[in-house]
Symmetry: C2
Subunit: 284 residues, 2 copies
Amino acid sequence: MSDRNPRDRKPPFRRPGGKPFDKGRPAGGHAAGRRPAWRDRDSGADDGPVILYGWHTVTLALQNPGRHIRKLLLTENAARRLAEDNIKAPIAPEIVRPSQIDQLLGPDAVHQGLLAEADPLPSPDIETLAAEGMILVLDQITDPHNVGAIMRSAAAFAVKAIVTTNRHSPEATGVLAKSASGALELVPLVTVQNLARALTTLNERGFMTVGLDSEGGDNLAAIALRQPLALVLGAEGKGLRQLTRETCSHVARLDMPGEIKSLNVSNAAVLALYIGATRLGLMG
Amino acid sequence: MSDRNPRDRKPPFRRPGGKPFDKGRPAGGHAAGRRPAWRDRDSGADDGPVILYGWHTVTLALQNPGRHIRKLLLTENAARRLAEDNIKAPIAPEIVRPSQIDQLLGPDAVHQGLLAEADPLPSPDIETLAAEGMILVLDQITDPHNVGAIMRSAAAFAVKAIVTTNRHSPEATGVLAKSASGALELVPLVTVQNLARALTTLNERGFMTVGLDSEGGDNLAAIALRQPLALVLGAEGKGLRQLTRETCSHVARLDMPGEIKSLNVSNAAVLALYIGATRLGLMG
């Protein structure tokens, strides 16, 4: 990033936007002001450390053997709760006052006394995904709250992976990680250069690829769904890009009885997951 | 409000927080910084005008004969789109440049060239609600994005009304109105002083009142649901307050097959609405 000092390669913490924390400049969410609390990968920046805060987000990261924690700040209360729950941190925490975390994240971040800096998790190759169950494919959904909520729902419905584009997707850090409530540690995130090519690969590997679109020809709940199933969601407003839609094996809508015919994208995602899991006999 | 100048009682626009717009001070959403983009009614402030922006939010308000529009700012493009769609404004718009709306709302508000100041809609009395179909009851859900998304889903599932508390609820303006995507004009919002008393009234009027709680004894999808049905949702983290839970006729959980057992509250709401509408034969 242009305003990153190359002599300052390993700052103790970096903001979710990929920059070093800067006292007094909020970074945690709504408070981030004019700067989005995530970095668009178009910037070409390398993958810096990710910022994790909040009880579920941090405790699941601490318990994920595949997650390398670089630094851990805990309040005394949070350290006591971890001990009570018998959750061991892989590194020694720094015990801090809540206000010190407030200062790093900004006043609106609900951190619950836990803040970690960690390495990003590796992105599996799409060829290595097992051809079973359900996966989600996100076509340029940019809002980190929505992507986080979608990841959380994906973990709740035992989704095997989430496929997103490298570009025009928020990074798995900060607000997204908080909204995901630990789901980052549970659902592999597969990032790809070209979504249509990824869908072609999924089609070739036997996935049924169903794009969701309010103009879709069939109602999702009325289609004969089968495993492995990939549900494909587009951004609010823009919807699925044309090439995405054309590469899906099916395009379906979500029928609803009321006057409004479209949902918030994370609401549409959870409904599609419920319908998919129910039809595929995955509800357990 | 303490910092409102009494000599400035009728500003041309007021921020979603209930204060006059102030050039250069963002008001539209994430950009609002340390100030929440809604006013907690605890402040005792009177109901000021509400701020509506965005295509769906404003066009549905313009078409709602029950909504009194005080002021309407449109860009030339937006005015042309309204004319093309044959949507008549009840008052003469001021034609402005997009940057003028940006300045009023802050840079993160996706206003699409439309900004209206309107009177709040009246809150119907809970006694007047028809005892049929589904309603939603929200127990101190404070995040305006979540409440807005819930209202949008409520309109999609033909919910008859949403009941919330006067206090500890965001106002139906600004970010909430934008997230609701026009649903404010479609779903009556009933505000009450005391939620337990409102639930008692609903019970007496024959509603089945089902609180959603991850510790609930039954799975919502496995309960014999009946009309009229009230689905009751608590805030994330806190969940249903004890008295709310005790006053519901049933408490149910949403069973899901994955490792995470709780959803973002708007995701839980849409799932409960789908299950309710399906079981009650309301899917049309």
